[in-house]
Protein backbone atom coordinates (compact mmCIF):
# COMPACT_ATOMS: atom_id res chain seq x y z
CA UNK A 1 0.00 0.00 0.00
CA UNK A 2 1.32 3.44 -0.85
CA UNK A 3 1.16 6.66 1.12
CA UNK A 4 0.63 9.41 -1.41
CA UNK A 5 1.29 13.09 -0.90
CA UNK A 6 -1.51 14.71 -2.85
CA UNK A 7 -1.51 18.33 -1.75
CA UNK A 8 0.72 20.98 -0.22
CA UNK A 9 0.45 24.53 1.05
CA UNK A 10 2.79 27.08 2.59
CA UNK A 11 2.97 30.46 4.33
CA UNK A 12 6.62 31.37 4.63
CA UNK A 13 9.19 34.12 4.39
CA UNK A 14 9.93 33.19 0.76
CA UNK A 15 6.30 33.14 -0.31
CA UNK A 16 2.73 32.63 0.78
CA UNK A 17 1.74 30.38 -2.11
CA UNK A 18 3.32 27.47 -3.96
CA UNK A 19 3.94 29.50 -7.16
CA UNK A 20 5.57 32.30 -5.17
CA UNK A 21 7.77 29.89 -3.23
CA UNK A 22 8.70 28.11 -6.46
CA UNK A 23 9.89 31.36 -7.95
CA UNK A 24 11.86 32.28 -4.82
CA UNK A 25 13.59 28.91 -4.72
CA UNK A 26 14.41 29.02 -8.41
CA UNK A 27 15.78 32.57 -8.17
CA UNK A 28 17.58 31.95 -4.88
CA UNK A 29 15.61 34.78 -3.30
CA UNK A 30 16.16 35.04 0.43
CA UNK A 31 13.35 35.76 2.86
CA UNK A 32 15.74 36.81 5.65
CA UNK A 33 16.07 40.32 7.02
CA UNK A 34 16.59 42.28 10.23
CA UNK A 35 13.90 42.91 12.83
CA UNK A 36 15.04 46.04 14.67
CA UNK A 37 12.45 45.56 17.41
CA UNK A 38 14.42 42.51 18.57
CA UNK A 39 17.47 44.64 19.34
CA UNK A 40 15.34 47.04 21.39
CA UNK A 41 13.90 44.06 23.28
CA UNK A 42 17.31 42.62 24.07
CA UNK A 43 18.06 40.00 21.42
CA UNK A 44 21.72 39.45 20.49
CA UNK A 45 20.77 38.90 16.83
CA UNK A 46 18.12 40.71 14.82
CA UNK A 47 18.25 38.39 11.81
CA UNK A 48 15.04 36.54 11.05
CA UNK A 49 12.91 35.14 8.29
CA UNK A 50 10.48 37.97 7.53
CA UNK A 51 7.12 36.20 7.54
CA UNK A 52 4.13 38.27 6.39
CA UNK A 53 1.34 38.35 8.97
CA UNK A 54 -1.99 36.83 7.90
CA UNK A 55 -4.29 39.80 7.23
CA UNK A 56 -7.63 39.77 9.04
CA UNK A 57 -9.34 39.95 5.65
CA UNK A 58 -8.18 36.41 4.83
CA UNK A 59 -9.88 34.92 7.90
CA UNK A 60 -12.91 37.21 7.98
CA UNK A 61 -15.15 34.44 6.64
CA UNK A 62 -14.60 32.51 9.88
CA UNK A 63 -17.05 33.15 12.74
CA UNK A 64 -15.73 35.46 15.44
CA UNK A 65 -15.91 32.67 17.97
CA UNK A 66 -13.28 30.82 15.92
CA UNK A 67 -11.14 33.85 15.09
CA UNK A 68 -10.63 34.78 18.75
CA UNK A 69 -9.11 31.34 19.39
CA UNK A 70 -6.48 31.66 16.66
CA UNK A 71 -3.07 32.93 17.65
CA UNK A 72 -0.20 33.50 15.24
CA UNK A 73 0.69 29.86 14.40
CA UNK A 74 -2.97 28.88 13.90
CA UNK A 75 -3.47 31.70 11.40
CA UNK A 76 -0.43 30.64 9.37
CA UNK A 77 -1.52 27.00 9.52
CA UNK A 78 -5.07 27.79 8.37
CA UNK A 79 -3.75 29.50 5.23
CA UNK A 80 -1.39 26.61 4.42
CA UNK A 81 -4.09 23.97 4.96
CA UNK A 82 -6.53 25.82 2.69
CA UNK A 83 -3.95 25.62 -0.12
CA UNK A 84 -3.19 21.95 0.49
CA UNK A 85 -6.84 20.92 0.56
CA UNK A 86 -7.48 22.88 -2.62
CA UNK A 87 -4.54 21.32 -4.46
CA UNK A 88 -5.56 17.82 -3.40
CA UNK A 89 -9.16 18.61 -4.34
CA UNK A 90 -10.11 17.07 -1.01
CA UNK A 91 -13.78 17.85 -0.53
CA UNK A 92 -14.82 15.27 2.06
CA UNK A 93 -12.91 15.77 5.33
CA UNK A 94 -14.88 13.04 7.10
CA UNK A 95 -12.44 10.90 9.08
CA UNK A 96 -9.44 12.87 7.83
CA UNK A 97 -6.77 12.90 10.53
CA UNK A 98 -4.88 16.01 11.57
CA UNK A 99 -1.31 15.77 12.85
CA UNK A 100 0.47 19.01 13.68
CA UNK A 101 4.02 19.84 14.68
CA UNK A 102 4.15 22.79 17.08
CA UNK A 103 6.28 23.33 20.14
CA UNK A 104 5.53 26.81 21.49
CA UNK A 105 2.94 29.52 22.06
CA UNK A 106 5.20 32.18 23.53
CA UNK A 107 3.24 35.00 21.88
CA UNK A 108 -0.01 34.04 23.60
CA UNK A 109 1.80 33.61 26.93
CA UNK A 110 3.36 37.06 26.60
CA UNK A 111 0.00 38.67 25.78
CA UNK A 112 -1.56 36.94 28.78
CA UNK A 113 1.19 38.18 31.07
CA UNK A 114 0.90 41.75 29.77
CA UNK A 115 -2.89 41.78 30.27
CA UNK A 116 -2.63 40.32 33.75
CA UNK A 117 0.03 42.84 34.79
CA UNK A 118 -2.18 45.63 33.49
CA UNK A 119 -5.53 44.44 34.79
CA UNK A 120 -4.82 41.84 37.54
CA UNK A 121 -8.09 40.22 36.48
CA UNK A 122 -8.32 37.08 34.32
CA UNK A 123 -11.67 38.18 32.92
CA UNK A 124 -9.86 40.64 30.67
CA UNK A 125 -8.20 37.77 28.83
CA UNK A 126 -11.43 36.97 27.00
CA UNK A 127 -12.82 33.61 26.01
CA UNK A 128 -10.33 32.82 23.26
CA UNK A 129 -6.97 33.25 24.98
CA UNK A 130 -6.93 29.77 26.47
CA UNK A 131 -7.23 28.24 23.00
CA UNK A 132 -4.34 30.36 21.75
CA UNK A 133 -2.17 29.37 24.70
CA UNK A 134 -2.04 25.61 24.66
CA UNK A 135 0.67 23.90 22.62
CA UNK A 136 -2.06 22.13 20.67
CA UNK A 137 -3.54 25.45 19.58
CA UNK A 138 -3.09 24.66 15.89
CA UNK A 139 -4.73 21.22 15.87
CA UNK A 140 -7.42 22.50 18.22
CA UNK A 141 -8.32 25.36 15.92
CA UNK A 142 -8.05 23.52 12.62
CA UNK A 143 -10.11 20.56 13.83
CA UNK A 144 -12.85 22.97 14.86
CA UNK A 145 -12.70 25.10 11.71
CA UNK A 146 -12.73 22.15 9.32
CA UNK A 147 -15.20 20.09 11.39
CA UNK A 148 -12.83 17.14 11.53
CA UNK A 149 -13.98 14.07 13.39
CA UNK A 150 -11.04 11.69 13.13
CA UNK A 151 -7.68 11.72 14.91
CA UNK A 152 -6.49 15.20 15.80
CA UNK A 153 -3.34 15.98 17.76
CA UNK A 154 -0.21 18.09 18.04
CA UNK A 155 3.17 16.55 18.58
CA UNK A 156 6.15 18.36 19.96
CA UNK A 157 9.64 17.28 18.97
CA UNK A 158 11.32 20.65 18.56
CA UNK A 159 12.80 21.09 15.09
CA UNK A 160 12.30 17.41 14.23
CA UNK A 161 8.56 17.69 14.84
CA UNK A 162 7.67 18.23 11.22
CA UNK A 163 9.54 15.14 10.09
CA UNK A 164 8.00 13.07 12.87
CA UNK A 165 4.50 14.38 12.02
CA UNK A 166 4.95 13.16 8.44
CA UNK A 167 6.37 9.86 9.68
CA UNK A 168 3.56 9.33 12.17
CA UNK A 169 0.88 10.02 9.58
CA UNK A 170 2.61 7.65 7.16
CA UNK A 171 2.84 4.93 9.82
CA UNK A 172 -0.83 5.27 10.72
CA UNK A 173 -1.82 5.07 7.04
CA UNK A 174 0.40 2.04 6.46
CA UNK A 175 -1.13 0.30 9.49
CA UNK A 176 -4.59 1.16 8.07
CA UNK A 177 -5.68 3.04 11.17
CA UNK A 178 -6.33 6.11 9.06
CA UNK A 179 -6.82 6.67 5.33
CA UNK A 180 -5.97 10.31 4.99
CA UNK A 181 -4.22 12.96 7.03
CA UNK A 182 -3.56 16.68 6.99
CA UNK A 183 0.00 17.14 8.26
CA UNK A 184 1.00 20.61 9.40
CA UNK A 185 4.11 22.29 10.71
CA UNK A 186 3.63 25.71 12.30
CA UNK A 187 6.06 28.17 13.88
CA UNK A 188 5.45 31.55 15.52
CA UNK A 189 7.96 34.31 14.83
CA UNK A 190 6.70 37.10 17.12
CA UNK A 191 8.96 39.05 19.44
CA UNK A 192 8.76 36.49 22.25
CA UNK A 193 9.09 33.34 20.13
CA UNK A 194 12.86 33.01 20.16
CA UNK A 195 14.18 34.79 23.26
CA UNK A 196 15.55 31.68 24.99
CA UNK A 197 17.17 30.47 21.76
CA UNK A 198 18.89 33.81 21.36
CA UNK A 199 20.10 33.57 24.96
CA UNK A 200 22.29 30.55 24.19
CA UNK A 201 23.92 32.22 21.22
CA UNK A 202 22.75 29.87 18.48
CA UNK A 203 21.71 32.69 16.17
CA UNK A 204 24.01 34.10 13.52
CA UNK A 205 24.34 37.88 13.45
CA UNK A 206 25.56 37.79 9.89
CA UNK A 207 23.80 35.30 7.57
CA UNK A 208 22.45 31.77 7.17
CA UNK A 209 25.36 29.79 5.75
CA UNK A 210 24.64 26.05 5.87
CA UNK A 211 27.77 23.96 5.36
CA UNK A 212 30.03 26.99 4.92
CA UNK A 213 33.33 27.10 6.82
CA UNK A 214 32.41 30.59 8.10
CA UNK A 215 28.91 29.72 9.24
CA UNK A 216 28.05 31.35 12.55
CA UNK A 217 24.70 29.93 13.57
CA UNK A 218 21.13 29.60 12.48
CA UNK A 219 18.65 32.32 11.50
CA UNK A 220 15.21 31.82 13.06
CA UNK A 221 12.17 31.85 10.81
CA UNK A 222 8.63 30.49 10.70
CA UNK A 223 5.14 30.43 9.24
CA UNK A 224 3.38 27.19 8.37
CA UNK A 225 3.37 24.38 5.83
CA UNK A 226 0.79 21.69 5.18
CA UNK A 227 0.60 18.39 3.31
CA UNK A 228 -2.20 16.02 2.44
CA UNK A 229 -1.22 12.37 2.89
CA UNK A 230 -3.53 9.55 1.87
CA UNK A 231 -3.44 5.86 1.08
CA UNK A 232 -3.49 4.91 -2.59
CA UNK A 233 -6.83 3.20 -2.01
CA UNK A 234 -8.34 6.37 -0.54
CA UNK A 235 -6.98 8.33 -3.49
CA UNK A 236 -8.40 5.84 -6.03
CA UNK A 237 -11.80 5.97 -4.35
CA UNK A 238 -11.74 9.77 -4.61
CA UNK A 239 -10.79 9.51 -8.27
CA UNK A 240 -13.64 7.09 -8.91
CA UNK A 241 -16.22 9.39 -7.38
CA UNK A 242 -14.77 12.71 -8.50
CA UNK A 243 -16.97 15.03 -10.51
CA UNK A 244 -15.80 17.09 -13.44
CA UNK A 245 -12.14 18.01 -13.41
CA UNK A 246 -11.10 14.80 -11.72
CA UNK A 247 -8.43 14.70 -9.04
CA UNK A 248 -4.87 15.96 -9.40
CA UNK A 249 -2.21 13.25 -9.63
CA UNK A 250 -0.19 12.57 -6.47
CA UNK A 251 3.00 14.55 -5.98
CA UNK A 252 5.00 11.75 -4.40
CA UNK A 253 4.75 8.66 -2.28
CA UNK A 254 6.41 8.16 1.09
CA UNK A 255 8.61 5.10 1.09
CA UNK A 256 10.21 5.11 4.49
CA UNK A 257 10.43 6.82 7.88
CA UNK A 258 13.42 6.62 10.15
CA UNK A 259 14.29 8.05 13.55
CA UNK A 260 16.87 8.06 16.31
CA UNK A 261 17.88 10.07 19.35
CA UNK A 262 21.28 11.63 19.90
CA UNK A 263 22.87 11.61 23.36
CA UNK A 264 23.26 15.42 23.48
CA UNK A 265 20.30 17.68 24.24
CA UNK A 266 21.57 20.34 21.87
CA UNK A 267 23.62 18.78 19.09
CA UNK A 268 23.04 15.65 17.02
CA UNK A 269 26.04 13.40 16.43
CA UNK A 270 26.96 11.81 13.13
CA UNK A 271 26.29 8.30 14.39
CA UNK A 272 22.70 8.99 15.34
CA UNK A 273 22.03 10.93 12.14
CA UNK A 274 23.39 8.01 10.13
CA UNK A 275 21.13 5.66 12.09
CA UNK A 276 18.06 7.76 11.29
CA UNK A 277 18.83 7.95 7.58
CA UNK A 278 19.72 4.28 7.39
CA UNK A 279 16.48 3.27 9.06
CA UNK A 280 14.46 5.41 6.65
CA UNK A 281 16.22 3.94 3.63
CA UNK A 282 15.97 0.37 4.93
CA UNK A 283 12.23 0.89 5.40
CA UNK A 284 12.00 2.33 1.90
CA UNK A 285 13.74 -0.72 0.45
CA UNK A 286 11.39 -3.07 2.31
CA UNK A 287 8.41 -1.08 1.14
CA UNK A 288 9.51 -1.16 -2.49
CA UNK A 289 10.96 -4.66 -2.53
CA UNK A 290 14.02 -3.25 -4.21
CA UNK A 291 17.50 -2.11 -3.33
CA UNK A 292 17.76 1.64 -3.03
CA UNK A 293 21.36 2.59 -2.30
CA UNK A 294 21.99 6.05 -0.84
CA UNK A 295 24.18 7.07 -3.77
CA UNK A 296 21.21 6.59 -6.10
CA UNK A 297 19.02 9.10 -4.31
CA UNK A 298 18.39 12.22 -6.37
CA UNK A 299 18.52 14.56 -3.40
CA UNK A 300 19.16 14.62 0.30
CA UNK A 301 17.33 17.60 1.79
CA UNK A 302 19.62 18.33 4.69
CA UNK A 303 18.59 19.73 8.04
CA UNK A 304 21.69 21.95 7.86
CA UNK A 305 20.76 25.02 9.88
CA UNK A 306 24.15 26.75 9.75
CA UNK A 307 25.46 25.75 13.17
CA UNK A 308 29.09 24.70 13.53
CA UNK A 309 28.59 21.33 15.14
CA UNK A 310 25.24 20.40 13.65
CA UNK A 311 26.22 20.95 10.04
CA UNK A 312 29.51 19.13 10.52
CA UNK A 313 27.85 16.12 12.12
CA UNK A 314 25.27 15.94 9.35
CA UNK A 315 27.86 16.37 6.59
CA UNK A 316 29.96 13.56 8.08
CA UNK A 317 26.93 11.33 8.42
CA UNK A 318 25.78 11.97 4.86
CA UNK A 319 29.29 11.38 3.51
CA UNK A 320 29.48 8.05 5.32
CA UNK A 321 25.92 7.18 4.26
CA UNK A 322 26.76 7.67 0.60
CA UNK A 323 30.24 6.12 0.74
CA UNK A 324 29.00 2.99 2.53
CA UNK A 325 26.25 2.53 -0.06
CA UNK A 326 28.83 2.25 -2.83
CA UNK A 327 30.50 -0.81 -1.33
CA UNK A 328 29.90 -3.88 -3.41
CA UNK A 329 29.36 -1.88 -6.59
CA UNK A 330 31.87 -1.66 -9.41
CA UNK A 331 33.76 1.40 -8.37
CA UNK A 332 34.09 3.20 -11.73
CA UNK A 333 30.30 3.01 -12.23
CA UNK A 334 29.43 4.65 -8.96
CA UNK A 335 32.46 6.84 -8.34
CA UNK A 336 30.90 10.10 -9.54
CA UNK A 337 27.31 9.26 -8.65
CA UNK A 338 25.96 11.22 -5.69
CA UNK A 339 22.74 12.90 -4.63
CA UNK A 340 22.35 16.66 -4.57
CA UNK A 341 22.52 17.98 -1.02
CA UNK A 342 19.85 20.62 -0.63
CA UNK A 343 20.17 23.26 2.10
CA UNK A 344 17.27 25.64 1.60
CA UNK A 345 17.74 27.20 5.03
CA UNK A 346 20.22 29.55 3.36
CA UNK A 347 17.14 31.21 1.83
CA UNK A 348 14.46 30.56 4.43
CA UNK A 349 16.31 30.48 7.73
CA UNK A 350 15.42 27.71 10.17
CA UNK A 351 11.67 27.30 10.42
CA UNK A 352 11.96 25.08 13.51
CA UNK A 353 8.70 23.29 14.35
CA UNK A 354 7.56 23.89 10.76
CA UNK A 355 10.75 22.85 9.06
CA UNK A 356 10.26 19.12 8.37
CA UNK A 357 6.96 19.86 6.63
CA UNK A 358 8.19 22.96 4.81
CA UNK A 359 11.29 21.06 3.69
CA UNK A 360 8.99 18.49 2.12
CA UNK A 361 7.21 21.31 0.26
CA UNK A 362 10.53 22.76 -0.94
CA UNK A 363 11.75 19.30 -2.01
CA UNK A 364 8.55 18.52 -3.90
CA UNK A 365 8.73 21.89 -5.67
CA UNK A 366 12.32 21.20 -6.75
CA UNK A 367 11.41 17.64 -7.73
CA UNK A 368 8.47 18.61 -9.93
CA UNK A 369 10.14 21.65 -11.46
CA UNK A 370 13.40 19.77 -12.00
CA UNK A 371 15.81 22.17 -10.37
CA UNK A 372 18.01 22.22 -7.30
CA UNK A 373 17.63 25.46 -5.36
CA UNK A 374 20.87 27.29 -4.68
CA UNK A 375 22.80 27.81 -1.47
CA UNK A 376 24.05 31.29 -2.37
CA UNK A 377 25.84 31.78 0.97
CA UNK A 378 28.10 28.76 0.47
CA UNK A 379 31.38 30.38 -0.52
CA UNK A 380 33.90 28.14 1.29
CA UNK A 381 32.51 24.67 2.04
CA UNK A 382 33.41 23.01 5.32
CA UNK A 383 36.01 20.25 4.97
CA UNK A 384 33.37 17.74 6.03
CA UNK A 385 31.51 18.54 2.81
CA UNK A 386 34.41 17.72 0.52
CA UNK A 387 32.64 14.75 -1.07
CA UNK A 388 29.16 16.28 -1.08
CA UNK A 389 27.45 17.75 -4.13
CA UNK A 390 25.93 21.04 -2.97
CA UNK A 391 24.46 23.47 -5.50
CA UNK A 392 25.65 27.04 -5.03
CA UNK A 393 23.59 28.20 -7.99
CA UNK A 394 20.23 27.05 -9.31
CA UNK A 395 21.00 23.81 -11.08
CA UNK A 396 18.93 21.57 -13.39
CA UNK A 397 17.87 18.34 -11.69
CA UNK A 398 17.40 15.97 -14.58
CA UNK A 399 16.51 12.71 -12.85
CA UNK A 400 14.37 13.85 -9.95
CA UNK A 401 13.07 10.57 -8.64
CA UNK A 402 13.91 9.82 -4.99
CA UNK A 403 14.77 12.09 -2.11
CA UNK A 404 15.58 11.76 1.57
CA UNK A 405 14.74 14.54 4.02
CA UNK A 406 16.29 15.12 7.45
CA UNK A 407 14.89 17.07 10.37
CA UNK A 408 16.65 17.11 13.74
CA UNK A 409 15.72 18.80 16.97
CA UNK A 410 16.81 19.85 20.44
CA UNK A 411 16.58 16.94 22.78
CA UNK A 412 18.50 14.88 20.25
CA UNK A 413 15.43 13.76 18.35
CA UNK A 414 16.11 12.92 14.69
CA UNK A 415 13.76 12.13 11.81
CA UNK A 416 14.32 11.07 8.22
CA UNK A 417 11.82 10.50 5.42
CA UNK A 418 12.36 8.89 1.99
CA UNK A 419 10.01 9.83 -0.87
CA UNK A 420 9.61 8.93 -4.51
CA UNK A 421 8.21 11.20 -7.18
CA UNK A 422 4.92 9.98 -8.65
Amino acid sequence: MKTFITGMGIWSCIGTSIPEVTQSLREGKSGIGHIKERADYGYQSTLSGIVPPVPDSLISDLPRSKRICMGEPARYAYMAVLQAIKQAQLTDLHNVALIVSNDSTAGAAAETEALMQERHDTRYLGAGKVFQSLNSTVSMNLASIFHLNGLSLTLSAACAGGGHAIGLAHSLIQSKQIDCAIVVGAQEVGLHAYTSFDAIGVFSREASRPFDKNRSGLVPSGGAAALILESDEHFRNRMATATEGGVTAPLASILGYGFSTSPSIATPNAESILASMTMALDNAERHEYQVLPAFSLGMISAHATGTKDGDRAEAEAISTFIANSKRGYHEPYVKDVAPWISSTKALTGHECWMSGVSQMVYTLIQMHNRFVAPNPNLTDPDDACSTLRIARETTPWHIASHALLNAFGFGGTNSSIVIKKE
Partner: protein, 81 residues
Protein backbone atom coordinates in the same frame (compact mmCIF):
# COMPACT_ATOMS: atom_id res chain seq x y z
CA UNK B 1 -29.69 51.72 36.60
CA UNK B 2 -33.05 50.96 35.04
CA UNK B 3 -33.67 47.90 32.94
CA UNK B 4 -33.65 50.05 29.79
CA UNK B 5 -30.31 51.60 30.79
CA UNK B 6 -28.84 48.11 31.24
CA UNK B 7 -30.23 47.17 27.81
CA UNK B 8 -28.62 50.22 26.19
CA UNK B 9 -25.25 49.47 27.76
CA UNK B 10 -25.38 45.80 26.78
CA UNK B 11 -26.25 46.83 23.22
CA UNK B 12 -23.09 49.02 23.18
CA UNK B 13 -20.93 46.19 24.51
CA UNK B 14 -22.26 43.71 21.97
CA UNK B 15 -21.84 46.11 19.08
CA UNK B 16 -18.21 46.66 20.07
CA UNK B 17 -17.52 42.97 20.64
CA UNK B 18 -19.44 40.98 18.04
CA UNK B 19 -19.50 41.51 14.29
CA UNK B 20 -22.00 38.85 13.24
CA UNK B 21 -25.14 39.89 15.10
CA UNK B 22 -28.26 41.80 13.91
CA UNK B 23 -28.30 45.61 14.25
CA UNK B 24 -28.28 46.38 17.98
CA UNK B 25 -31.58 48.35 17.67
CA UNK B 26 -33.22 44.99 17.04
CA UNK B 27 -31.88 43.53 20.30
CA UNK B 28 -34.69 43.70 22.84
CA UNK B 29 -35.15 42.49 26.38
CA UNK B 30 -36.68 39.21 25.25
CA UNK B 31 -34.14 38.51 22.51
CA UNK B 32 -32.80 34.99 22.99
CA UNK B 33 -29.01 35.19 22.98
CA UNK B 34 -28.29 31.78 21.46
CA UNK B 35 -31.40 31.37 19.33
CA UNK B 36 -31.99 34.84 17.90
CA UNK B 37 -28.59 36.53 17.59
CA UNK B 38 -27.22 33.81 17.48
CA UNK B 39 -24.29 33.55 19.85
CA UNK B 40 -22.22 30.40 20.11
CA UNK B 41 -21.14 29.03 23.47
CA UNK B 42 -17.74 30.75 23.33
CA UNK B 43 -19.45 34.05 22.47
CA UNK B 44 -21.63 33.59 25.58
CA UNK B 45 -18.53 33.17 27.72
CA UNK B 46 -17.07 36.29 26.12
CA UNK B 47 -20.29 38.25 26.73
CA UNK B 48 -20.41 37.19 30.38
CA UNK B 49 -16.75 38.19 30.89
CA UNK B 50 -17.42 41.53 29.18
CA UNK B 51 -20.45 42.20 31.40
CA UNK B 52 -18.45 41.34 34.51
CA UNK B 53 -15.85 43.99 33.74
CA UNK B 54 -18.33 46.55 32.41
CA UNK B 55 -20.73 46.32 35.36
CA UNK B 56 -18.08 45.43 37.97
CA UNK B 57 -19.79 42.22 39.09
CA UNK B 58 -18.74 38.61 39.56
CA UNK B 59 -20.98 36.22 37.64
CA UNK B 60 -20.85 32.49 38.42
CA UNK B 61 -20.57 30.60 35.14
CA UNK B 62 -22.66 27.82 36.66
CA UNK B 63 -25.65 30.18 36.50
CA UNK B 64 -25.17 30.82 32.79
CA UNK B 65 -27.34 27.83 31.90
CA UNK B 66 -30.36 29.73 33.25
CA UNK B 67 -29.64 32.83 31.16
CA UNK B 68 -31.21 32.75 27.72
CA UNK B 69 -32.53 36.28 27.13
CA UNK B 70 -31.20 39.81 27.65
CA UNK B 71 -33.84 40.27 30.38
CA UNK B 72 -32.50 37.23 32.25
CA UNK B 73 -28.91 38.48 31.79
CA UNK B 74 -29.84 41.86 33.29
CA UNK B 75 -31.59 40.16 36.20
CA UNK B 76 -28.52 38.03 36.77
CA UNK B 77 -26.27 41.10 36.80
CA UNK B 78 -28.58 43.04 39.10
CA UNK B 79 -28.90 40.05 41.38
CA UNK B 80 -25.18 39.95 42.10
CA UNK B 81 -24.81 43.64 42.85
Amino acid sequence: MTEQEYLARIRELMQARFDNIPPVEEIELDTDLMEDLPLESLDMVDLILTCETAFNVKLDMADAKNTHTIRQLIAWIKGTK
